[in-house]
């Protein structure tokens, strides 16, 4: 074997990709040629260093939780994450069944009614997940000029990020979360030790709905919509202060 042939085959040899007889020929050559043997040794040690040193990041728990939550919704109808503006896709089965008997006019309403409790539940589980260490914010800042632009290009909506610190609701930051089969903008405020998560995403339904507060497993969840934007707020703050927060948030 000539050295040039050996060098050509060295990568495959190091990776164990040669046929047994080819590998045999290589071994013979490497035993008798110091220059090729040095090159072989270098490739092996490079490979070793890469295997030991290359970063091997593990999927964070929050990602696993998001994926599992998205998968659990898909057992009905597959959540369509690639079509923006259709947050209710995952609930079409329920909606369609009702639509068959009640006709198109009440379809949207029925679909909304069917989906609200499911969304409220997801909003709450996103809220709870956000309270785990390190999960609250992707961008941590009390300055809305840092938080608002962070969402550009990450979600198909620029969420409201009003300054409310003078009213006792300082901004904590923002993050991406996963609700209703889609990535949503989440703005985080705090009140004393209480976290307030504001989730928003665009919706095709342009009718405005005034805020409705409900209690989910002891937490307060407020829902409203404004001109094509769906908003949900979750917190363990008392209802009175949370409603005060919502009023201030909506004023902007």
């Amino acid at each position: 074997m000539r050295c040039a042939e050996c060098r050509d085959a060295l990568t495959s040899y190091v990776d164990g990709e040669l046929m047994p007889e080819e590998a045999e020929t290589m071994r013979d050559h490497l035993a008798s040629c110091a220059a090729c043997a040095a090159e072989h040794e270098m490739l092996q040690s490079l490979s070793r260093r890469l295997r030991e040193g290359l970063a091997r990041p593990r999927a964070p728990d929050v990602l696993k939780a998001r994926i599992r939550s998205a998968l659990s919704q898909s057992t009905g109808v597959l959540a369509d994450v690639t079509t923006p503006g259709r947050p209710w896709t995952g609930l079409l089965v329920a909606g369609a069944l009702i639509a068959v008997v009640s006709g198109g006019a009440s379809f949207a309403v029925a679909r909304r009614e069917a989906s609200r409790p499911a969304i409220a539940e997801q909003v709450l589980s996103s809220h709870l997940r956000s309270l785990m260490p390190g999960h609250l914010t992707d961008v941590a800042s009390n300055d809305s000029h840092n938080v608002k632009p962070w969402f550009n290009g990450r979600v198909d909506l620029s969420p409201l990020v009003p300054r409310l610190d003078s009213a006792g609701f300082p901004l904590a930051g923002g993050r991406l979360d996963y609700v209703g089969g889609r990535t949503v903008a989440t703005v985080v405020y705090v009140r004393r030790q209480h976290v307030i998560n504001v989730f928003s995403w665009p919706t095709e339904d342009r009718t405005a709905h005034t805020p409705v507060t409900s209690i989910e497993k002891g937490y307060h969840v407020v829902h409203w919509s404004d001109g094509g934007v769906e908003l949900w707020v979750a917190s363990d703050l008392n209802a009175r202060e949370l409603e005060q927060f919502v009023t201030l948030y909506r004023r902007e």
């Binding site: 495959s12 040193g53 970063a55 990041p57 593990r58 998205a70 998968l71 898909s74």
Partner: protein
């Protein structure tokens, strides 16, 4: 989708989330983008699960993750694929919370991460698939959609560059 089908999807695909995430981190050099892309890739994989019956679920998922990474970069990044992410800050972010490694080893790791990060993407992906995921040429060829011969030559060229940037290059006697 039937409950049973989603269950079998979870059983086959979810064990490979760590590999999927590691690949996305190395291709995108950004943890948040990697999370979004892996999530998108898994949901996309579920949609195409009909088309996957047997074979290697890991290679299949990694192929989808790889495609999603490049789609993502085309969609959201104006700096394109050839950008060099070779700054220490990105590398240490990517390293995450693994503190088991000793100080000497982790300093070598930072050097290695920087060297790999500065490779062009077509070289970086074969290095990650081969050295980190320990996949065969055949699997790497399936994932990247290039012939096995190209996988081999890209690996050879990528290693030459790494050897040079890590100061391992042997002076050839002329």
């Amino acid at each position: 989708m039937a409950h049973r089908e989603v269950e079998s999807f979870e059983r086959l695909v979810l064990p490979h989330l760590d590999d999927a995430y590691a690949l996305a981190c190395h291709l995108l050099r950004d943890e948040h983008d990697a999370q979004d892309v892996v999530q998108e890739a898994v949901l996309r994989a579920l949609r195409y699960f009909d088309g996957f019956r047997d074979g290697d679920a890991r290679a299949w998922l990694l192929a989808i993750v790889r495609n999603c990474c490049y789609t993502w970069q085309r969609r959201y990044r104006t700096d394109g694929l050839s950008v060099s992410y070779a700054d220490a800050e990105t590398s240490s972010q990517l390293r995450g919370t693994d503190t088991d490694a000793g100080a000497i080893r982790s300093s070598d790791s930072a050097v290695i991460d920087r060297a790999v990060a500065s490779l062009p993407p077509e070289f970086r992906e074969v290095i990650v698939l081969r050295e980190l995921q320990e996949l065969s040429y055949r699997e790497i060829s399936q994932i990247t959609g290039v012939p096995m011969g190209t996988v081999m030559s890209r690996l050879a060229r990528a290693r030459k560059r790494l050897a040079s940037s890590l100061g391992l290059l042997i002076e050839e006697a002329s």
